[in-house]
Subunit: 244 residues, 2 copies
């Protein structure tokens, strides 16, 4: 892990450091005022750090105010990373079906999401190794956001993740339902009820499948990108209950 | 409205007053430290004040700590009020179907709930007239709890109610879905995902039907009576956003 730039955010309370982990770009946000190693939240996203940056930095500041360090890495095939022709084709097929208002074939979702999960999850785990080696990062660790299938796989295979806020804003391969049953950590699932690019019934079925004893679903209005501010506050309080 | 008893609760911060409104028993809780007329939350429940008292007083204390006065009245046909043979029969029929694991006939739900809503809603409105005439009660007013169909009707017909926390823990007549579409106030709907005496899909359909621009669904585990403490905190924060 190599830090390549560092800046204070405008109110001077948060340090933002860009890094690379091998070929993978990433960003780490820590609070200037932290006096001891901080709990860490991994910020999931749909891919494309440059485009996602404004929303990620807002989440990072919000978390820093509650005492959490946050970090994210670019997804395989997104942002400045090399494209996968197969993933690009699957993404185009998905977009075409959604735009046409057609039901989305399981086969398209499988082609798009399963290879992404297989590639991304070991990268997030490697990032976690590197992040937890930093003196300013302690633990415990949470995962927050989408791609929900990446969060599910991480919750199953990565014992260092002790709670997760999962954003139900992407299509989920049928195979992930079996993994969902194996999840046992506390979950806080965010669903945008009127998400234009999601299948609500699939999201509700996935919530039902999770094996966790503590699982909470928060559904709100406002479309895919319209998660209300108070929903972010509630997600932070969930982490405050479980990561401190 | 006649006050018939008054007591300080054990930490001396809340005054509990029992009252009657004609033949209807009720309870009002106010904070001792309130220096100005308080916003009011009407506490809904499934009927039977003596049995419901422990849970109601816990909700009242929780709300008082946030600056809200709370009040409740007995439902028609429950607690010490005269029974309705038709309602008793409908309740027995519902219980038999649920216990047998059978689907519950719409006709049974209609027989149980529609007359209850028709009788209870004017009583809650009369209680509101009396409560708002007290110098210690200001407004705005919220409704919190079940019977969800009573909350829905109140949200439609009572303009003084400006936000509602609705507990989706009872069967809902089909006719209420049309009323749900007419609701426009901010809603915070609580659903116990594994509620043994409820129909989850009906609750989700009802949430979908609400016409409100701001509506939030919070689903948790723990069975009908197992609403987690943090879910109560979130409901209080919803009222803090809308009643202050």
């Amino acid at each position: 892990m190599q830090f390549i730039s560092e800046q204070r955010l405008d109110d001077d309370s948060v340090v933002e450091r860009a890094f690379t982990l091998g070929e993978i770009p990433g960003i780490l946000w820590t609070s200037v005022s932290a006096s001891e190693p901080a709990p860490l939240i991994l910020l999931g996203h749909p891919g494309g750090l440059p485009m996602m940056y404004p929303r990620l930095v807002a989440r990072a500041r919000h978390a820093a105010a509650e005492g959490f360090a946050t970090a994210t890495i670019e997804l395989p095939g997104s942002g400045d990373r090399p494209r996968s022709p197969a993933a690009e084709q699957a993404r185009a097929d998905l977009r075409r079906a959604v735009t046409a208002g057609e039901p989305v074939d399981d086969e398209i979702v499988d082609r798009l999401v399963l290879p992404l999960v297989d590639k991304a999850v070991p990268e997030w785990r490697a990032a976690l190794d590197a992040l937890l080696a930093l003196p300013e990062i302690g633990g415990p660790v949470g995962y927050s956001g989408g791609v929900i299938s990446i969060g599910v796989r991480l919750a199953v295979v990565e014992p260092r993740i002790s709670a997760a806020v999962l954003f139900a804003g992407s299509f989920v391969p049928r195979a992930m339902f079996e993994e969902a049953r194996q999840v046992t950590i506390p979950l806080h699932v965010l669903l945008q009820w009127d998400d234009e690019g999601n299948d609500r019934h699939m999201a509700l079925d996935l919530f039902d499948a999770f094996g966790s004893e503590e699982k909470t679903l928060h559904a709100n209005m406002g479309g895919h990108t319209g998660v209300p501010r108070f929903a972010g506050d509630e997600a932070n309080r969930f982490f405050a209950r479980h990561l401190r």
